[in-house]
Amino acid sequence: MSQNVPKITIAGENSAIVYFSERPCRKTSSIIAHTVSYLKNNLSTKLIDLVPSYHSLLVIYNPLKIDHLGIEKEILNAIGLWSLEIDTDKGRKIELPVYYSVESGPDLQRLADSAKLSVDQVISIHQQTEYNVYAMGFAPGFAYLGETDLRIAAPRLSTPRQRVPKGAVAIADRQTAIYPAQSPGGWNLIGLCPTAMFDPNQQPSTLLEVGDKVCFVAIDRQQFLQLGGSEQILAESGQ
């Protein structure tokens, strides 16, 4: 850790943001996860919400119960526990099936062409990395996974799509993600995942959380349909 981090900065009347490192990494993600559980256990009703992200944690508190100096002290206490060895391999490992194809991934061919790779190479490279869940946001259950192999990194579309289908597996720069529900979106679509990412009627409602590790495994069309994928989603995905 450099001299400038960790750094606690005011974000608003009831919020402080902690920057843990200059760049995101697995160790930072583990420290953020530990800090989240410490603050949840120790602040109870003084705490309103927490937003973990790549290298930061936004702490939203009740200013009628604790002031900005008090919250800073609590955050420093949490950080003080860093002397403990942090086990970066402790997060859950989740394997997700993906039907990669030109049919289910309308940007796959273009991404391969511009990367001077074959479609099969892109598919294989995407599966070779164990990804880290760095942040959740954009929409309920949308997990930002990083980092993709440089060879398959691709900029966002200049014009976002109006409709990206539920389950679309996508790449933007060195990030990859699965769209948890149909929404507009500007990421490059390379396949479809039949596993539900977000279901408000289930406990837990999101499959992934910050700090989890994710691997992708290729499946074929038939397996996609058997695992809950639908022809309708396939038809939509080509649009």
Binding site: T9, I10, A11, G12, E13, N14, S15, I17, P24, V36, I48, D49, L50, V51, P52, S53, Y54, H55, S56, L57, L58, I60, P63, L64, D67, H68, A135, M136, G137, F138, A139, P140, G141, F142, Y144, A181, F198, P200, S205, T206, E209, V210
Partner: protein, 304 residues
């Protein structure tokens, strides 16, 4: 359960309680009342808990038919209110009986009105809240983020309170066409903005653009040059003022995204976010910096 039948939902009427808290880590935003001041008074008039579910009515046009005997209260924007053919006052408790029609006309000043009923609207909860967030498809009568529709029934307890209440004139909203002063706690990346850009930001007048809603208010005015440094997405709190590359500020509100990657100057004081809720596109505002101690003192005073 009986309650109020929606004869006309108006332009956009949303069920809102205090909001959805504790789920940001799943990417779920808070929702909740945009004008929390008027929302709180509406509930107080009905002797409800502060978090009871009310309607947030954008612009107006709502017509309800009561199926029960109870009391209601309407606060917020200046709207003509009728019970059957009688013009009645806002900011006070009104009795309704089965068959009564409550019509809320279009706002003549301000833009959001709040409708509370004794006991609160008994809307189902999802992630601990009834608040409607259309973008996320969460909350409301059907838990799917849908705004009020014609034919919906707002379920309510048949409950009455012993005393009628009225909010004293000095506590009701005052509407004028002046430039609104918006206090902002400096924070996030503000030290990375140059002194001249900060001066410009705090001396300029900004106009609320038509692309403004419960997610964010987009402003038009002198462009503020954001710092060059590359940023990673990070948590966004209520009222955060972000500066995208075009330098036009966006104030992030109740339905904001939970994380984002634009530099931010700080966050608007919640007491002033309530004021923003009543400002239509075209209205002007100016930012004033406020330090954190002063901001937290004001919050403590406001609840006394």
């Amino acid at each position: 359960m009986k309650g109020f039948k929606v004869i006309n939902p108006g332009m956009l009427s949303l069920i809102q309680d205090a909001g959805r808290y504790g789920f940001h880590r799943m990417g779920i935003t808070t929702g909740g009342p945009f004008d929390s001041y008027s929302f709180t008074w509406a509930n107080q008039l009905c002797e409800n808990q502060d978090s009871a579910a009310c309607l947030e009515i954008l612009a107006g046009g709502l017509v309800l038919e009561s199926q029960i005997k109870t009391q209601v209260a309407i606060t917020g924007a200046d709207v003509p209110i009728k019970i059957n053919d009688n013009q009645v006052e806002g900011w006070c408790t009104q009795t309704v009986v089965p068959g009564d029609r409550i019509s809320i006309g279009y706002a003549t000043a301000g833009c959001r009105a709040y409708f509370a009923v004794v006991g609160g609207i008994q809307s189902p909860l999802i992630f601990g809240s009834a608040s409607t967030v259309v973008r996320e498809g969460l909350g409301g009568l059907h838990k799917n983020g849908q705004p009020l529709q014609q034919g919906d029934i707002l379920p309510c307890h048949t409950k009455q309170i012993a005393n009628m209440h009225s909010i004293p004139e000095q506590h009701r909203l005052i509407f004028n066409t002046d430039v609104t002063e918006v206090r902002m706690v400096l924070g996030y990346q503000y030290t990375q903005f140059s002194a001249s850009q900060l001066d410009q930001f705090f001396s300029a007048e900004y106009t609320i653009s038509p692309q403004s809603d419960r997610m964010g208010y987009r402003l038009k005015g002198p462009a503020i040059k954001p710092p060059n440094s590359e940023m990673l997405s990070e948590g966004i709190c209520l009222g955060a003022v972000q500066l995208p590359a075009d330098g036009q500020p966006i104030i992030l509100l109740c339905d904001r995204q939970t994380i984002g990657g634009y530099p931010k100057l700080g966050s608007v004081l919640s007491l002033d976010i309530a004021k923003l809720a009543q400002l239509m596109p075209g209205r002007k505002l100016r930012f004033t910096p406020i330090d954190i101690d002063r901001a937290q003192n004001l919050l403590r005073q406001s609840t006394q």
